[in-house]
């Protein structure tokens, strides 16, 4: 192993982070420590979540009470809601930005980049990510990307308004909608920065998991969290570049007169455009080639984390570890070949509709097995209903409910009625909204003690759970049925349609529930801030869990593992080994002390 120090030296030159010698700025601001970067991502993401939530408040006010004059809100937002009544262009900007911010700047940052950065080195037994400097760069590019996206609210024409999917020609022709001016350009630039940053983190995730595992940490001894981050990062690496290509072409169509996505003879605002021969469907193909795997990039870590929190509160190993790993891999592969199910009614050939239906529904097989195995983890366990556990149980329920909606939408025949209705809105809010949101909360309550050395308040945490689960379920479950009634999405108001009159009452209920849900998040924010300052001091292993991060102090020191890296002797789910007093056996305990059971 003589060559090893050289490797460290190379990194040292790139990162140059000698903990004892650096000041505050290098330690907490421009830090290359994966834990600091992870926390930076989490805090940035939570801030963006607040922004995204405020946008959702406005959306629900409009949909619940379409003609009502919100005088106070009008004073706060004179441009978008002059006199307290929302303009349609502001509504479309809200919808677009709410989606973009929540998917890319909240869930991606907190759950994937945040927890990924924080947990991967700790759980595989490494001192840091493989490329610490790249990691720091990734965070700062990510922050820049978020700032550019926020800045787009303040340019002429307002933020992008073509939906988070940005279908051209609407997104390509500035005269088609006000937000298609500078707002859309900034949207594309921000996405390009996001992709660059996400690619850097994904490189780090894959390299760290592949290469820097501690001695004894074979792939099949990795926690499901690490496995899910691994698959998710590979998907990210493969799926994001096509979006980059599409974004470049869209930018050229917008600013340099090319015709990639713009066909001949377009007449917008009574003006004939000079473009020729392009294909709007080309964008959809490239976008969804990213867009669908992106869903799994987000949801797989949520599922992995949920699987890992379960055993700590059931005091028994996860059910079907190997099968869970195979399911994650299978879903990752399948997610790359099903993008067409977003385009069933776009005019694609009927044959590809059949293929995409059959392929998409194959995903239900590994996902069902995964979900039932999660429930299997409860079987015969000794449950401790902590806040983290409650949110994890919520993940299981939401995963089931959201997944069942997928059976409808993946099916081309049913999708003819449901496409682009609120059924879709309800479905994806359960999956990339709900499963990921509850998993994020579960993870925050679970790892907060490790991150900050203090525990979050459990009582308020439980109140938070009940006031999150019930309203969330109400809102998005009901939206499925709005979709069955034919209510199209991205409508500023539904008042003029006879067939939608009966949805008015449902929309009020949904808005009330949604506002409750959003209000309840104040409890979380208060608890988070209060616990940072005043929370009960946490010991190293408050949940009596087995993975490597619990073997070190809370919070872990720079370099994570003190003098020597851990040596791993067993899989990460060694709970309640028969004949031993302690009902958990950390991965570092040697088989001479406690036998290895799997």
């Amino acid at each position: 192993m003589a060559h090893i120090p050289v490797e460290g030296a190379f990194e040292a030159e790139a990162g140059a982070h000698v903990a004892d010698q650096v000041g505050f700025v290098r330690r907490y601001i421009f830090s290359t420590d994966h834990k600091v970067i992870g926390i930076q991502y989490i805090l940035t993401g939570l801030f963006m979540a607040v922004v995204g939530t405020l946008l959702a408040v406005l959306i629900r006010l409009q949909l619940g009470w379409p003609a009502h004059q919100w005088t106070l809100v009008g004073k706060l937002l004179p441009a978008g809601m002059a006199g307290g009544i929302m303009t349609p262009e502001f509504y479309l900007a809200l919808v677009t930005m709410h989606g973009t911010i929540m998917v890319f700047f909240f869930i991606s940052y907190v759950l994937v980049s945040g927890f990924g950065n924080y947990l991967i080195p700790l759980q595989v037994g490494a001192r840091d990510m493989a490329y610490p400097f790249l990691n720091m760069l990734s965070y700062w590019v990510a922050l820049l990307s978020a700032l550019v996206m926020l800045a787009s609210f303040f340019v002429t024409g307002g933020a992008a308004a073509a939906g988070w999917t940005s279908y051209p020609p609407l997104s390509a022709v500035p005269s088609a909608v006000p937000g298609s001016g500078w707002g859309q350009t900034l949207w594309i630039l921000s996405m390009a920065l996001f992709i660059a940053s996400f690619t850097m983190s994904s490189l780090n995730f894959v390299a760290t998991i592949f290469s820097l595992r501690a001695r004894g940490m074979s792939m099949m001894r990795m926690s499901l969290t690490v496995w899910s981050f691994f698959i998710s990062a590979i998907l990210g690496l493969l799926a994001f570049p096509p979006l980059t290509a599409a974004a470049v072409m869209l930018l050229f169509d917008r600013h340099f007169g090319t015709s990639f996505f713009l066909p001949s003879g377009l007449v917008v605002a009574n003006q004939l455009l000079p473009h020729q021969g392009g294909s709007p469907l080309l964008w959809q193909l490239l976008f969804w080639f990213l867009g669908h795997p992106e869903v799994y990039v987000l949801i797989l870590p949520a599922l992995g984390i949920a699987c890992d929190i379960l055993p700590a509160f059931t005091r028994k190993p996860v059910f079907g570890y190997r099968i869970q790993v195979y399911c994650l891999i299978a879903v990752g592969v399948l997610s790359m070949v099903v993008w067409g199910h977003h385009m069933f009614v776009s005019g694609m050939s009927p044959f590809s509709g059949e293929y995409f239906t059959l392929a998409t529904l194959l995903i239900t097989i590994p996902m069902t097995i995964f979900g039932v195995n999660m429930m299997g983890s409860l079987w015969g366990g000794k449950l401790r209903l902590t806040t983290a556990m409650l949110f994890t149980l919520g993940v299981i329920a939401f995963f089931g409910t959201g997944g069942f909606g997928g059976l409808f939408l993946g099916n081309a025949t049913a999708d003819m009625q449901l496409h682009d209705t609120y059924f879709v809105v309800g479905h994806f809010h359960f999956m990339i909204g709900g499963v990921t949101l509850l998993a994020t909360f579960a993870a925050l309550y679970f790892w907060f003690p490790k991150m900050f050395g203090r525990s979050m308040n459990e009582s308020w945490g439980k109140v938070h759970f009940w006031l999150t689960f019930i309203p969330f379920f109400t809102v998005f479950f009901m939206q499925h049925f709005l979709g069955l009634q034919g209510m199209p999405r991205r409508y500023y108001a539904f008042t003029s349609y006879e067939f939608l009159q009966r949805t008015m009452g449902q929309n009020v209920v949904i808005s009330v529930a949604a506002l409750t849900l959003m209000g309840a998040q104040l409890i979380f924010l208060a608890n988070f801030c209060w616990s940072l300052a005043r929370g009960r001091r946490a010991e190293a292993n408050p949940w009596r869990a087995t993975t490597l991060e619990w073997t070190v102090d809370s919070p872990p020191p720079h370099g994570n593992f003190g003098h020597a890296l851990p040596v791993v002797h067993r899989w990460p789910y060694e709970y309640s080994v028969e004949g031993f007093d302690a009902d958990y056996t950390p991965q570092t305990v040697s088989p001479r002390e406690v036998p290895v059971t799997a």
Binding site: H3, G8, A130, T244, S259, G277, G278, G559
Partner: protein, 200 residues
């Protein structure tokens, strides 16, 4: 100085404990190349789909592209000669080989710029036809990667310039190997792009 003397980032860590399984630089390069492959795969599928539209009128490609192609291929060959020399311990010819590769890479870029100017002089701009749009975007995207490759190459050259640094083992050898992977990939990628835009 020997690099072994640089202190580890974690002051109390034992020196011999790391269990790193792969060469991280090489691994990083390969993963990055995977993303580049996906990027160009996306451009290719867009190209093929867009190609079928009725308004596709091919542009005449500048002959300069043959010169830049020759420069890039020669650059790859020079790099490879340098790398073989470094393996055999012939440090001087290794340095010259890799420096020549970097120089030829610069010539390639210059050739691409001349080709662009040639098109512009003939009145062929980015939006002139879908073929020219793709030509400019593909060459520009490839060019950006070549610039990144050149940065890596120049960094490599500066790291191996000191006389007395052995090039056949350790960090310098791995750096040379990684930049070779990247640089040869860019040459192959260029050949691919060239074939795509001139044949299809």
């Amino acid at each position: 100085m020997t690099r072994q003397s640089v202190s580890l980032p974690w002051p109390h860590a034992a020196d011999t404990e790391s269990v790193q399984r792969h060469d991280l630089v090489q691994l990083g390069v390969w993963m990055f190349l995977a993303t580049v492959v996906m990027l160009f795969a996306a451009f290719t599928s867009a190209y093929i789909i867009r190609r079928s539209a009725s308004d596709w009128t091919p542009i005449e490609l500048p002959w300069m592209l043959w010169m830049s192609t020759a420069a890039l291929v020669a650059s790859s060959v020079a790099f490879e000669r340098g790398r073989f020399a470094s393996k055999r311990g012939q440090a001087a010819s290794a340095r010259y080989g890799i420096s020549a590769a970097a120089g030829l890479g610069l010539i390639f870029l210059a050739g691409q710029v001349v080709a662009w100017r040639d098109l512009v002089a003939r009145g062929v701009y980015v939006p002139t036809s879908p073929h020219s749009s793709f030509f400019f975007i593909l060459t520009a995207t490839h060019g950006v990667h070549v610039v990144a490759g050149l940065v890596l190459l120049i960094y490599t050259v500066t790291r191996i310039w000191d006389v007395g640094v052995p090039l056949d083992r350790g960090a310098p050898a791995r750096l040379i190997a990684a930049s070779a992977t990247f640089w040869h990939f860019l040459a192959v990628l260029w050949l691919y792009v060239f074939v795509l835009v001139s044949v299809f």
